[in-house]
Symmetry: C2
Subunit: 207 residues, 2 copies
Amino acid sequence: MFKLKVFWLMAGVRETKREALRTSLIEAAKGRIEMSGLGGLRARDVAADAGCALGSLYTVFKDIDELILHVNSQTLARLRAALDLPANAATSPKESLVELACEYLKFAANHKKLWAALFDHRMPEGVAVPDWHVSELVVLFQYIAIPLAQLQPELGKEALANRSRTLFAAVHGIVSMSMEDRLVAVPLEELEDQLRLFVETFVKGMT
Amino acid sequence: MFKLKVFWLMAGVRETKREALRTSLIEAAKGRIEMSGLGGLRARDVAADAGCALGSLYTVFKDIDELILHVNSQTLARLRAALDLPANAATSPKESLVELACEYLKFAANHKKLWAALFDHRMPEGVAVPDWHVSELVVLFQYIAIPLAQLQPELGKEALANRSRTLFAAVHGIVSMSMEDRLVAVPLEELEDQLRLFVETFVKGMT
DNA sequence: AGAAAAAAATGAACAATGTTCAAATTGAAA
DNA sequence: TTTCAATTTGAACATTGTTCATTTTTTTCT
């Protein structure tokens, strides 16, 4: 028993260190992206920040893209968490959609560079985004599908999915352009008003 | 021999060759982007395709970004030309907005990589997109502003500009996501129906 | 036209960066 | 402790954007 436990503990050291390194690398990459954006991410900087050699990065991740995907995965998790509040505390389907959109805008504004990395990142030509990450993205459509289904109960499953995706894309486009200071020089409160108006108009047109 | 030299002197060989090189480089870059996307663009390939030395590229353009901006500038010009048809042949403001959106979708679908380059390209951290290029983009909002002003004549100049920008951003978001085969596996006709429905719904909600 | 000056084109060299790999280090087993 | 296997390391490599001394071409001057 004692021996077994000792064995297990000792055998665990490698796994433990590996996990710690993995976490450090993701955290370091996240920090660099927050500071300098996706374009300012350097393998050497990440390794230095994480306190490991350059080569060690490649023993944990296949390449830089895989590391970025993991940072994006965490960002998506925080985004989903932020959307859970308005999704649950809804007074009406319309209000729910409006609040979801506003929360999305606020998240983007409060995490500009991490949020941008979510959509700016591109895999190398011909390489597909892995399924596990695509499905993390697709879940976002669900937040919209629930209130939308209440507003249009006659919609079939397919049609509902299509419209959810379309409305998400529209809101995303608006938020996305809001983040480009060059094209939109307007305070956040006003952006939120515009977005609110947009969703309300769209919902009104639906009924 | 004397006459030949005089001819060359008068022809302004220097300027002519410089313009020809400029054109070749932009054309070569355009071709490379069409073939391999923005991520597949290489200074060496462009120079080789244009039939000049690597260094010559940098006698015409400050850096690769400037070259890309010029390719994007031409793409924008073609996009605007494509939008002129539906903008002029409109039967009603609503129809005008619908057709503009559909034409935008078709342009994106027919020039996927060039269109993607338009929005995927990022200047280096801290460097702003030059004014001349920003204003080329901003003109797109005007296409929407005209029918929108007819639908809501009570809107002030500022409010009209805001709403035009918002509607453009929404349509752009939808088209943008449509181009990501991974998230949207749907034929173009159906995408067009979705987009048409979206704009119609929004216009209906506006009135 | 020919020489001299100015401008432009060239491509080798440089710097930055992602990735690999042989050697060194460290953990696991006996 | 000793041995073996897994892991870590960072120097070296490959690719790419950019620069610059040198060469070539164009213009100017006589």
